[in-house]
Amino acid sequence: MPRSFEEVLLPHLDAAFNYARWLTKNDADAEDVVQDAYVRALRFFSSLRGEDARAWLLTIVRNTWYGRFPRRAGGGVTMVADEDADNRADVSLNPEAQMIQQQTVEQVRRAIEALPTDFREVLVLRELEGLSYKEIAAIVGIPLGTVMSRLARGRERFEGVLASSDIRGGRRGLS
């Protein structure tokens, strides 16, 4: 039975906004992107057949954002050097314990925002949206294996950024 636009896509408005907000890093752009995306989604709604509506909508959100901010969307990705891969913190230090000490959700936010978009978005889709690798691959338009490696690399880099912000900020008094 055909389902209505409202019934299918409005429940995913929060997901759409959260994704757009992390892509654009500000409220105003995120609102514009989501609004545009919904207008597009409405236009193409009849082409949605049995797929996962949330993934479908998030794909449109991403395409809309990419169309609006091509430079920002494309930038900062390829400069990831393989050599810096091993900047994960000492495994004997439990990063979670560190974070609880610091009580810095804000720091987490900044660390994620500091990541290149390619890593940021897969982390957000995976950790905040709980999407599968397959769904992420469809939304971002990359192979499954790339989702896997980007997530692994993204987590590493996140930890690296967080660690360096610790050194710059909270730990200064210790030295």
Binding site: R3, E7, D27
Partner: protein
Amino acid sequence: MDCRDVEGLLDAYQDRELEPAISTSVRDHVNTCAACHQRLANVESIGRMIRHAPYYPAPDGLRARLTQARTRSTSASHLLAWAAAVVLIASVTGSMWFVRSSARAARTLDPVDAVAQEVVSSHVRALMGEHLFDVRSTDQHTVKPWFLGKLDFSPPVNDLAQAGFPLTGGRLDYVAGRPVAALVYMRGQHTINLFVWPEASDAIRSSDAQAIRGFHVRHWTDGSMSYWAVSDVNDADLDQFVHALQP
């Protein structure tokens, strides 16, 4: 599997995205290798940290703008689907098929069906716009005179409280290209709109039932007036309502 193999799979392992056989191999290794065990704990820990990041829900303003943009930019049938959705949410009827079927509303219709669409639309508009009443009274002797001078006919107004359908008021409405009387009855929490206008016809048509966008519609004529009853009450109740109006 050695540590090097496992290290590259830890993220996918903790994301539960590995093939079962590979996943089992990783688990076996992690259970026996302290270093990889610690690495896995680290990956899990990073995941938990990232999940501390803020989740940005859509602002209310955006939700409202989307709603407006939607009603502005879409055809009448979509508008109606939207209106129907609003009514649906407001009344928490839970009958989801009502919204779904609304997409089918935009079809060419024969004149009677077109009127049926109109009265359903009017019913929806009245409920969502809160302009259900021009005159609010449970007294038929108040409601009936109210229409005097406002219509070129005098609609029959009967209180059906005895039958379980109390009259609650009426309003002027515009259907089928003419001003009509809309009488509002209740059945429990459900509203029944009864549209009445003169229609001279030789044939007395008995009740004709249909369902449009989840609303039940009854239409009949008594030789001088045309009646349309619209409601989301169940079929049996609406038939009972019609029966009570036809002595």
